[in-house]
């Protein structure tokens, strides 16, 4: 198609119907007017099903019998999904990830895969059985719906149906029209609604946060908002692709008016243009309806670019800009529209087209009789190519104009759909560029243009399944969201294309791994030997980072290849992903699932992640397998053992006891029993547990200490118990409680009950030294200094069993410094004593010790460090006396 054909002028701006391809498939006989049609964004497929809402006399829809049908770009059937229900449909449109959503009035819905034709059922549960759903609109991968009582609900993700109620709309009758702004495009970061209020103005709802009315002077109190225009009888609302511009269709005084508002809710000015929507040469169906606003009401109003809207009538398309409009009669009465980021896609029974505003560059080059530099360069190149070069010296010599020309050719190449013309334009640009050097033009522009054109042409692959009719501009948008981009290609198993494009555009590891994982998940389904299959998958993927073998394995299990799954799982690097799958596999396959747990446990230990080990342990313990078997598996590794013990200690004491016995860890059993004993408040119970403990310890010969000490403790407690029982009979006497043995003895000593203490010490075999030291402690506490002196002298007579420095320390802490120092001076080794006194700053005493013991050498040694006058004098005196 000639680039200069099919232009429409709208007040000196040009719009063009650009044909991608003709329709050759079954779509030729599709009835667009009466059926439910959905066209996917980004040039994707078309879906159609019967519309039972319409009453049709003569049905011509055998093509859609009992099914939802998907058509590729050239109109061939991609797939069919069975669908016989005649419930009212509230929403029939594609989700962002290009699966079709069919929402029924009662809140149940299907998500249909256009490639496989499979459908999954979802349900919003009872909520909408009473108040049914009137209408819904897609938002990203979710939707917003309106019920029969005009309340709105938001489902952010259709795959996980969770219903968020929006602010009450306060509507009493059905609004003529409403639109949704997705959260990523709003300031609030939440989903927002614009509703045409039947009483005038627009209701603005921000999810569950805010309700407000605009453009209605009666309802507005806010001074600022009062300056906004008053807009009534709004029949349709349309938002531009960037969600910045608003167009309204109003019916005022028997006339249709289109209102343009940019910066809606903020700006006070709006442009209005009255239009005529009569289709005089189109035969309308007869009906009793007399209301013109209903008869003439367009089917849809969509933005085409940023400054024009298109209204879809029965056979006409009306293009309206802020200052003029034209009516275009469509050659084929059957057509469907889809708003794309840079225009409107138009599908008919014959053609697959896009309507876009022509950029200035394109107009410069192709406007008939254009004398712009772009046009000159283009025709100069054409002649050059035909080996019939014309005189273009003039253009070549004017660098500024040449630059402009090159730029225009490149930009036109970006805009052009037909590869043949693209090529010609780019060659022209390149031809011009040779005379230009790198001045006046972005040196990367040509390169970039070629790169993205290759991508958009590759994606187009006319007619084949998964091909999409995208423009250069759309590709630039898609690249900004690589996850979505890849998803759209993988939807149709275009693995090769996806990987080539992601390499070409240098996408991240994440996207590449998604592609490989998806590929492998498809691959496992093929009829091949498990080993071979595993080998092929490994071969392909081994160099790629981040591929999820877990996902692939999971897929294999779903299709019944569990052996393959195990093989694949061995390749999963990330153990934290692998283990849950193993557990899942174990549960998925009833019966012989032991090996999975064993494998899971080994993996969990290798992962060094305690959480995973606990996960396996917990799941494994919950199975109804034989206990000894469970214990056996869980004890094979010391780490697993430690984790099991820790888990049981905190969650199941009794089971722990069992397990420790199984392990023959009798000392641990014993300690556990001791622990339990000390949770008992009853003394008898406590003793009983300690007896258990002792039995365990007797089994264990490694460390006999525990058994002995327990024996003692049991004896002590039994004595205590008798004591307590005796005391209970005597009233007013404080009941004894368990205390450390030594402190009981100390209590006797504090009360100077020496005899009782001695008896006690004998009974419980308390060593004599401890008895003595405890006595010293009691004496100091009782400030019985004389007895202390006497006692220590007596006990330390032969050899020092009560260290003097310890007693000294206690005395000093009890504010008896002098007594303490005297104690130090008694130390058997005068050197040690002397240095200790020096260290604690007691020079006089230190000198005294040395002198008392006649240690001349020591005195010489410490001489240098004495700076206390008195001590020094004493020292010098001693020295001088002894020298004599």
């Amino acid at each position: 198609m000639d680039p200069s054909a099919h232009w429409k002028e709208l007040n000196r701006k040009y719009y063009k119907f650009h044909q991608f391809n003709t329709i050759t498939g079954e779509q030729k006989s599709l009835d667009f007017f009466y059926q439910r049609i959905a066209v996917s964004k980004w040039g994707g497929p078309l879906a159609a099903t019967k519309n039972y809402n319409q009453v049709i006399l003569m049905r011509t829809d055998d093509l859609l019998k009992d099914s939802i049908v998907f058509f590729s770009n050239n109109g061939k059937i991609i797939s069919k999904a069975q669908y016989k229900e005649i419930d009212r449909i509230a929403l029939f449109d594609f989700l962002e990830d290009e699966q079709l959503l069919l929402l029924k009035a009662n809140g149940s819905y299907y998500i249909v895969d256009p490639f496989k034709g499979t459908k999954k059922t979802y349900d919003l549960m009872d909520q909408f059985k009473q108040q049914q759903i009137l209408k819904g609109l897609i938002v990203n991968n979710g939707f917003v719906l309106m019920t029969t009582n005009f309340e709105f609900f938001y489902i952010p993700n259709a795959y996980e149906p969770q219903v968020h109620k929006m602010k009450p709309s306060n509507l009493t009758q059905e609004p003529e029209n409403w639109q949704v702004i997705p959260p990523q495009k709003t300031q609030s970061g939440k989903v927002e609604l614009l509703i045409a209020n039947p009483d005038g103005g627009i209701i603005h709802i921000i999810e569950d946060e805010k309700w407000k009315i605009y453009y209605n002077k009666d309802k507005i109190v806010n001074e600022i908002d009062k300056k906004l225009p008053d807009l009534r009888n709004i029949k349709m609302i349309s938002l531009s692709s960037n969600y910045k511009n608003l167009a309204l269709l109003q019916y005022i005084n028997q006339r249709w008016v289109v209102t343009f508002i940019s910066d809606f809710f903020d700006s006070t000015d709006c442009k209005q243009i009255p239009i005529d929507l009569k289709e005089e040469d189109v035969k309308k169906e007869e009906s009793a309806e007399k209301d013109i606003s209903k008869i003439e009401r367009p089917r849809r109003m969509l933005w085409c670019g940023d400054d024009c809207v298109a209204l879809q009538l029965q056979q006409y398309l009306v293009l309206v800009s802020q200052d003029s409009y034209i009516k275009v009669k469509m050659s084929n009465p059957h057509f469907a529209l889809k708003q794309e980021v840079d225009g409107i896609r138009i599908l008919t029974q014959k053609k697959n087209e896009i309507l876009r505003k022509l950029p200035e560059a394109y107009v410069n080059v192709f406007l008939p009789l254009s004398i712009k530099p772009g046009a000159q360069l283009h025709s100069a190149y054409e002649s050059f190519e035909q080996k019939n070069p014309i005189e273009d010296d003039e253009l070549r010599s004017k660098k500024t104009e040449l630059g402009e020309a090159v730029n225009d050719c490149i930009k036109s190449g970006q805009f052009e759909i037909n590869p043949e013309y693209q090529m010609k334009l780019l060659k022209a640009a390149s031809y011009g560029k040779t005379f230009l050097g790198n001045q006046l033009i972005d040196p990367n522009l040509l390169n970039e243009t070629c790169k993205y054109l290759r991508v958009s042409n590759a994606l187009r692959r006319n007619g084949s399944v998964g091909g999409r009719v995208v423009t250069y501009e759309q590709v630039l948008q898609l690249i900004k969201n690589p996850d979505l981009f890849i998803t759209l290609m993988l939807r149709y198993n275009l693995h090769y294309l996806a990987i080539e494009i992601s390499r070409f555009l240098k996408f991240q590891i994440k996207q590449k791994s998604t592609i490989y994982t998806h590929w492998a998940c498809c691959k496992v389904d093929s009829q091949m030997d498990d080993d071979q299959l595993c080998q092929i998958i490994k071969e392909k993927i081994k160099e790629e980072k981040g591929v999820s073998f877990t996902q692939i394995a999971q897929k294999s299990i779903e299709i019944g290849k569990s052996q393959l799954a195990l093989k694949l799982l061995d390749n999963e690097q990330s153990l934290s992903k692998r283990i849950p799958v193993l557990i899942w596999m174990a549960n998925y396959q009833q019966g012989n699932n032991n090996s999975y747990y064993e494998k899971a446990l080994i993996d969990a230990i290798a992962s060094k992640d305690s959480n995973l080990i606990y996960l396996v342990i917990m799941k494994f313990l919950k199975t109804d397998m034989d206990e000894t078997y469970k214990f056996g598996i869980l004890s094979q590794n010391p780490v697993a053992q430690a984790h099991l013990i820790y888990y049981l200690r905190n969650f199941d004491d009794k089971y722990l006891q069992k397990y420790l016995q199984y392990l023959k860890k009798y000392d641990e059993c014993g300690l556990l029993a001791i622990n339990q004993a000390y949770q008992q408040s009853n003394l008898g119970e406590k003793i009983r547990f300690l007896e258990f403990a002792q039995k365990y310890f007797e089994e264990e010969s490694k460390d006999s200490f525990y058994s002995k000490i327990l024996q003692e403790q049991i004896r002590t407690l039994t004595d205590l118990k008798q004591e307590v029982e005796r005391e209970k009979k005597e009233k007013n006497k404080a009941i004894m409680e368990e205390r450390p043995l030594n402190s009981i003895m100390e209590a006797f000593l504090s009360k100077d009950n020496i005899q009782l203490a001695q008896d006690f010490a004998k009974t419980y075999k308390i060593p004599e030294r401890r008895f003595n030291i405890t006595r010293v402690k009691a004496l100091i506490n009782n400030k019985n200094w004389e007895e202390l002196e006497r006692f220590i002298n007596e006990k330390n007579k032969k050899n020092v069993s009560i260290p003097y420095e310890l007693v000294a320390d206690m005395l000093i802490k009890a504010d008896q410094e002098e007594r303490g120092l005297q104690m130090i001076m008694k130390m058997p080794d005068p050197e040690e004593s002397c240095y200790m006194l020096l260290k604690i700053g007691q020079q006089r005493h230190a000198v005294q010790v040395a002198i008392n013991n006649k240690k001349s050498q020591l005195i010489q040694d410490i001489r240098g460090s004495i700076n206390d006058n008195q001590a020094r004098a004493q020292l010098e005196m001693y020295l001088s006396q002894n020298q004599k």
């Binding site: 981040g546 060094k608 000392d667 001791i674 030291i773 310890l806 000294a808 320390d809 206690m810």
Partner: protein, 581 residues
């Protein structure tokens, strides 16, 4: 203000600090409006280390409670923000309180630091509160305690590794290393010593293979990972450098120490007798120099500094009358800060000196020195026995006993049983579980006839008797323990010196545990920049050890950055093994 006494660090901790602050604020903003904050004591400490109180108040926190000090949740503020570690006893307590709180309007956000565990979640489920709380994870990651010290501040790390065999700690450490690598690039040389170090290394390796980071670090030359268990002797010894002594005597939490106002000659009002001080070389101009000095050198240094400051001041006052400009103002500020710092340290070190001049300190020190110098076991044990019988602080008694046992390669059956019986008799029967833990952790145990310490001491030259405690410019890392050199310092020295442990094969075999080093160590040569070496210690490091590593950094011209799970000392290590029956 940049402190001129401190070298510029290449390793930029401000990134950590600011990031952490923003992260904390963002955390609280997930629950807009007024809220009450319930924390475990430990988390409160972390918050204090990371963010100013003012910022917390601005985030809508109306009151802060510690879980250890409350028995129920009050419903006066219905938004309740809880941050706790996923320890099961704490989780159980909070679950019970949530269940008991009769606040129909209460909303709970339960944040686990550093992340939830499957068991904590299971517990919440069993207690039936899982559905009524919103669970989140929050990691403080490595908290910068000083310009060259970062800590995860997980005081139970050693216990987790030795007793509970919980592997989470290795993951937390590996994660923190990976985050460093994301910022700084992959570290070319990794050295490991100890089994725990291997665990961490294995996790890093797996995570590296999945990471997008392909850049090799241009600043960080090496990462050395040590496991606390390769050297338990050093922490059992009393730290003798200034910062270490503050820790031993007053207990440092992170880098905060609470001191009696009396120490500074001030009278505290009742209930406010304590003052909290941040020990940080960024905030305190003298800290950089004084923290690694022994008390004897410290006094000398501070005295000289005071003289110099006074001289500067006089000089400055003369100058001041003639001109007044920005430089002068800065100068005045600097002098004032330094003088404040000087008098602060004089006060603290004065208090320390006072504590040192006691019999118990002198005795303790001479016992310790005796043990590592090869004194006979019987003498020490005899004294320890008396300490037990006098019922002195159990942690401190056991610390000494552990030192004896570690040096001797365990205790002989008879004294082992005897000591244990004495402990049980004096401190109560419940200590039996503690004793069991001590033996499990290889601290106090029955001798295995392998007496390695003295071989180790000889082969690695861990003893240097020529150390002078009043040296103000020490070189040998053995200075930090007055003669004993921490093993880590000697191992690190070998890496700095030869780039490898390979030439010391027989010596290295004396140390238990896994060992790893790069095949061909890569040397970073950046003109004008010191290469960074990160030393990561699992299970805790002492201030004394840090001081010794700093000395090495200076000597070999490397920028040593210390990372650890927690700051520790012998008493903290021992008390983490105690069991509450």
């Amino acid at each position: 203000m940049q402190n001129p006494n401190i070298p510029q660090y290449e390793f930029d901790i401000t990134i950590y600090k600011d990031y952490l602050k923003n992260k904390i604020i963002a955390l609280f903003e997930t629950m807009p409006g007024n809220k009450q904050l319930i924390l475990s004591q430990r988390v409160l400490q972390l918050l204090k280390l990371s963010i100013e109180n003012k910022l917390l108040q601005e985030s809508g926190i109306k009151k802060t409670l510690t879980i250890e000090n409350i028995t129920q949740i009050e419903n006066d503020i219905t938004q309740i923000f809880i941050i706790i570690p996923p320890k099961l006893d704490v989780t159980r307590k909070i679950a019970k309180m949530i269940k008991a709180a009769n606040g129909p309007n209460n909303t709970y956000k339960l944040v686990f630091w550093p992340s939830r565990t499957i068991l904590a979640k299971e517990l919440l489920d069993q207690e039936g509160v899982l559905s009524s709380v919103e669970i989140k994870d929050f990691s403080f990651d490595l908290i910068p305690l000083d310009l060259d010290v970062l800590s995860l501040e997980m005081p139970d790390a050693f216990r987790d590794m030795m007793i509970d065999q919980d592997l989470s700690i290795y993951n937390y450490v590996a994660d923190s290393i990976n985050r460093i690598q994301i910022v700084m690039g992959n570290i070319p040389n990794i050295y490991c010593k100890g089994d725990g170090a291997k665990m961490v290394y294995d996790i890093i390796k797996v995570e590296n293979s999945q990471s997008d980071q392909n850049q090799d670090s241009q600043e960080v030359e090496s990462l050395i990972i040590y496991d606390r268990s390769i050297d338990l002797v050093t922490p059992m010894l009393t730290q003798l450098v200034y910062e270490g002594l503050i820790d031993e005597q007053f207990g440092i939490n992170g880098n905060l120490v609470s001191l009696q106002k009396k120490v500074f000659g001030k009278e505290g009002q009742e209930g406010e007798e304590y003052q909290i001080l941040q020990l940080n070389s960024e905030k305190d101009p003298l800290m950089y120099k004084v923290r690694g000095l022994q008390v004897a050198s410290l006094a000398k240094y501070l005295y000289e500094q005071a003289k110099q400051q006074e001289a500067e001041k006089t000089e400055f006052q003369k100058e001041k009358q003639t001109q007044l400009n920005e430089r002068i103002v800065q100068q005045a500020k600097k002098i004032k800060l330094e003088q404040e710092s000087n008098s602060r340290h004089l006060n603290i070190s004065g208090k320390i000196a006072e504590n040192i001049k006691t019999i118990s300190f002198y005795k303790l020190l001479s016992l310790e020195q005796g043990i590592i110098n090869g004194d006979k076991s019987e003498r020490t044990l005899d004294y320890i026995e008396a300490m037990i019988q006098l019922e002195m602080d159990l942690n401190k008694v056991v610390r000494l006993l552990a030192l004896r046992s570690l040096v001797d390669g365990g205790l002989k059956q008879k004294p082992f049983d005897y000591m244990r019986r004495e402990i049980v008799h004096v401190y109560g029967f419940k200590t039996i579980a503690f004793l069991n833990n001590l033996s499990k952790a290889g601290m106090v145990y029955k001798s295995d006839a392998k007496q390695l310490f003295f071989k180790l001491q000889e082969q690695f030259k861990l003893l240097n008797v020529d150390i002078r405690s009043d040296d103000t410019d020490p070189k040998d890392p053995a200075y930090t323990y007055s003669g004993h050199c921490p093993l880590m310092a000697r191992l690190t020295e070998k890496v700095f010196d030869k780039g490898s442990w390979k030439p010391f094969k027989t010596q290295m075999q004396l140390i238990n545990g896994f060992q790893l080093e790069p095949e061909r160590p890569i040397k970073l040569n950046i003109p004008g920049k010191k290469p960074i070496v990160i030393v990561y210690i699992l299970g805790g490091v002492t201030y004394g050890e840090i001081a010794s590593l700093r000395l090495l950094g200076k000597q070999f011209n490397k920028e040593v950055i210390i990372c650890t799970t927690n700051m520790t000392n012998g008493t903290k290590l021992i008390s983490s093994l105690r069991e509450r029956i």
